[in-house]
């Protein structure tokens, strides 16, 4: 079963890569047939990915939230799922060229980081994980992170389109990119939905840390980075709703927020300190 999980995982990665190329080609060449193939490849990859997670779980009995490999794979899975929701809502394939490769990179990094972990989960640690609060904490934060990624992707597209419009030249890129207000709305809505989820996920984690009476729980590098992520997206919403900040500033802030999420998910994981030993 474990072997089947590995094969499905690589199969999913390959399909996401194919989908990325097809989405990019569709964006450049504007051939509708390629967008259909791209969605098909993403869908097939998603099914293979789901099977891989399920098979891995069944084979090892390891919750898919333990370790870099599992958590990054689950993060990629959530991102693809959220992408499908976005594609359905905004009817734009462009974001596939941004979000699907992001999922691919997350899976590849999970694969690379897999060998670098030098911890064995004790029975006590596994029992700590066996809690609905921990599962919810991880699931909610992953969905929120995917939402932030969508917001940042839309913000990146906003900055790109804004720069094109400022240049006063009618370029092919300008024609292919969506309008400013559409990207702005998508970014704002994604962040507006992701932010309360992120807050709820953080609170669940804090409650669990207090329950276990962990000393200096706030001193964990991942807790601190998540505080930074929370503060960045809080500023985003405050600046938008209270101060009426410019679209450009907000878009940059969303990108900074995504960088913080990446640091939290990947770099903070490699630090040897902290209690987030499960690789969450």
């Amino acid at each position: 079963m474990e072997q089947a999980a590995v094969v499905s995982f690589w199969f999913a990665m390959a399909l996401y890569l194919v989908a990325t190329v097809l989405y990019a080609y569709h964006f450049v060449a504007k051939r509708p047939v390629f967008s259909w193939y791209a969605t098909f490849a993403t869908g097939a990859g998603f099914l293979a990915h789901t099977a891989s997670i399920g098979l891995h779980w069944g084979a090892t009995g390891q919750t898919p939230i333990t370790g870099a490999f599992n958590s990054l794979s689950l993060a990629a899975w959530t991102l693809v799922l959220i992408y499908f929701v976005v594609e359905h809502l905004v009817k734009l394939k462009l974001y596939g060229a941004v979000l699907v490769p992001l999922a691919f990179i997350a899976m590849a990094l999970g694969q690379i980081l897999q060998g670098s972990e030098s911890f064995e989960l004790s029975q006590a640690a596994l029992s700590q994980l066996d809690s609905w609060r921990v599962a919810m904490h991880v699931a909610i934060i992953m969905i929120a992170n995917a939402g932030f990624a969508v917001g940042a992707a839309a913000s990146g597209v906003y900055l790109l389109q804004g720069a094109q419009l400022k240049k006063h030249k009618s370029s092919a890129l300008m024609k292919r990119l969506p309008s400013l207000t559409q990207t702005q709305d998508l970014a704002r809505r994604a962040i507006m939905l992701a932010y309360p989820l992120y807050t709820a996920g953080m609170l669940l984690g804090i409650v669990r840390a207090i329950e276990f009476d962990l000393p200096y729980w706030w001193f964990d590098p991942r807790v601190m980075t998540s505080g930074v992520v929370w503060a960045i997206f809080c500023s985003y919403l405050l600046l938008h709703y209270r101060r009426g900040a410019s679209g450009k500033l907000l878009a940059r802030l969303a990108l900074v927020g995504l960088v913080a999420v990446i640091i939290l998910s990947i770099l903070a994981r490699t630090l040897p300190t902290g209690f987030h030993i499960f690789g969450l």
Partner: protein, 462 residues
């Protein structure tokens, strides 16, 4: 059968000539009927638009089809034939197919990529179809040309980019706001160009039109045309906060909108973009305004630049359209080749030879033990029978193929000998029957109209 095109367009004739050679819809029936009454013309379609008049005809081989069409044009419009010929262009055979495909793809239009022409060609074909002047060949040719039109529109961006200043402004506004539904436009100055641009914006969904002018009455007058609201000039910057798009076209000699004015108007817009179009010369809006976040300023030169690059883009797309035309031409040529007499005769002979060889082989197996001389004799005998059987029909087929309705014989032969198992995915004889009966009915009607007693058989050459 022979494809012939005689026409004139904006490229070859001035409007004074073009306007004399139009065929309005209500006169198409009469024109088509006259064209078909000439012995050289078997099928005809008349395309008449403001920029072109073209007559597509299937003419009998070995006749002066083009001359007959020119005579028709000169007689119908009462023009001097020699004078008329100066403005006409002529095409024959494959060139006609290419020309029609280029016309439908709007590569031959005054503005490359314009969408109207496809509808106009469809209309011309529908007239011809309704008046029984489009037969087997034109049914295939024109239907395929519509495919070309559709493919060019869907597979290239030939019609995507605006090629006029006012449309370019609308197109850019849509890149800023996605949809213009419910947006507010502020017109500063009541010039003609700003009015035209506002008109396009309103037709694209802009809901509120605010007009500011130094002369309040003039602002009211313009606002009235768009069911908008005239505002006092001193309220301009106050009201600019409500606007999504500002069109400026005043006669002022210095900037009337500065960076500070726009920066102040931008406050409280929650990052909503502001699109400013300055079509005044000298400019009304300080170009530094473009440095502000969420503010996009385009002056007349910027818009002209966009139009120019859009035209270049259309030219690039035109090359892709030519490739599509090439593919579709190859498909049409394959079809038309199947209607040619030489490949048909060759196919009949090949089929007969195949049957002869198979039957001879079977017979020789049964006979057994024949000497070489006997074998040669049997072989020569069967070959001779086949040749004699085929000689008459193939010779007559070659003879009549060049006539006005010759391709119907070719098609009949292909059907009778079973050369096309299922052409076009339809019953093999459907086209033939339609073709024969359609032509027969038309011939009978024409004969009846003339009060003659021509036999139907004469017309179809039986």
């Amino acid at each position: 059968m022979h494809l012939t095109l005689v026409g004139l367009s904006h490229k070859t004739a001035p409007v004074e000539i073009r306007e004399k050679l139009t065929f309005p819809a209500h006169r198409q029936e009469e024109a088509l009927s006259l064209l078909l009454s000439t012995p050289e013309v078997a099928e005809a379609v008349v395309l008449s638009t403001c920029n072109r008049t073209e007559i597509y005809a299937v003419t009998a081989a070995g006749t002066d089809g083009s001359g007959a069409v020119v005579d028709f044009l000169a007689d119908y419009h009462d023009l001097d034939r020699h004078e008329l010929v100066r403005y006409l262009y002529f095409s024959e055979g494959e060139a006609v197919v290419r020309h029609l495909f280029r016309v439908v793809a709007s590569l031959d239009s005054m503005v490359i990529g314009e969408a109207q022409i496809l509808g106009q060609v469809k209309e011309a074909y529908e007239h011809a179809f309704a008046n029984d002047s489009a037969g087997r060949i034109f049914n295939k040719l024109f239907r395929q040309s519509f495919e070309v039109g559709k493919r060019v529109r869907s597979e290239t961006d030939i019609g995507e980019n605006a090629v006029s200043i006012s449309y370019a402004a609308v197109e850019l506004a849509k890149k800023v706001f996605d949809s213009l539904d419910g947006r507010t436009v502020l017109i500063l100055g009541a010039g003609k160009m700003s009015e035209l641009t506002a008109k396009h914006l309103v037709s694209n969904g802009v809901k509120t039109v605010l007009v500011a002018n130094r002369t309040y009455e003039r602002a009211q007058e313009l606002a009235c045309r768009f069911c908008g609201l005239a505002i006092r000039y001193d309220e301009l910057f106050e009201r600019m906060r409500e606007a999504d798009i500002v069109i400026s076209s005043t006669a002022a000699t210095s900037y009337v909108v500065t960076k500070d004015d726009v920066a102040a108007a931008r406050k409280g817009r929650r990052g909503q973009p502001l699109f400013l179009i300055d079509i005044a010369v000298p400019r009304d809006i300080d170009p530094d305004v473009n440095q502000l976040d969420d503010v996009f300023l385009y002056d007349i030169d910027d818009l002209s630049g966009v139009v120019e690059s859009n035209l270049e883009e259309r030219m690039r797309e035109a090359r892709r359209a030519e490739e599509i035309i090439g593919e579709e031409m190859a498909a049409f040529e394959r079809w038309i080749e199947s209607m040619e007499v030489v490949p048909t005769v060759a196919a009949i002979r090949a089929k007969a030879e195949q049957v002869r060889s198979a039957e001879l082989e079977k017979a020789l197996k049964r006979l057994g033990g024949l000497s070489e001389k006997e074998l040669k004799t049997v072989d020569a005998l069967t070959t001779s029978i086949v040749n004699k059987m085929l000689h008459g029909p193939t010779a007559r087929l070659k003879m009549v193929a060049g006539e006005k309705d010759g391709y119907t014989y070719v098609e009949a032969a292909r059907f009778l000998y079973g050369l096309d198992s299922n052409p076009e995915g339809k019953a093999a004889h459907a086209g033939l029957i339609r073709s024969l009966f359609g032509r027969a009915e038309r011939a009978a009607e024409r004969a009846a109209d003339k009060g003659t007693q021509s036999e139907m058989g004469d017309t179809i050459g039986c």
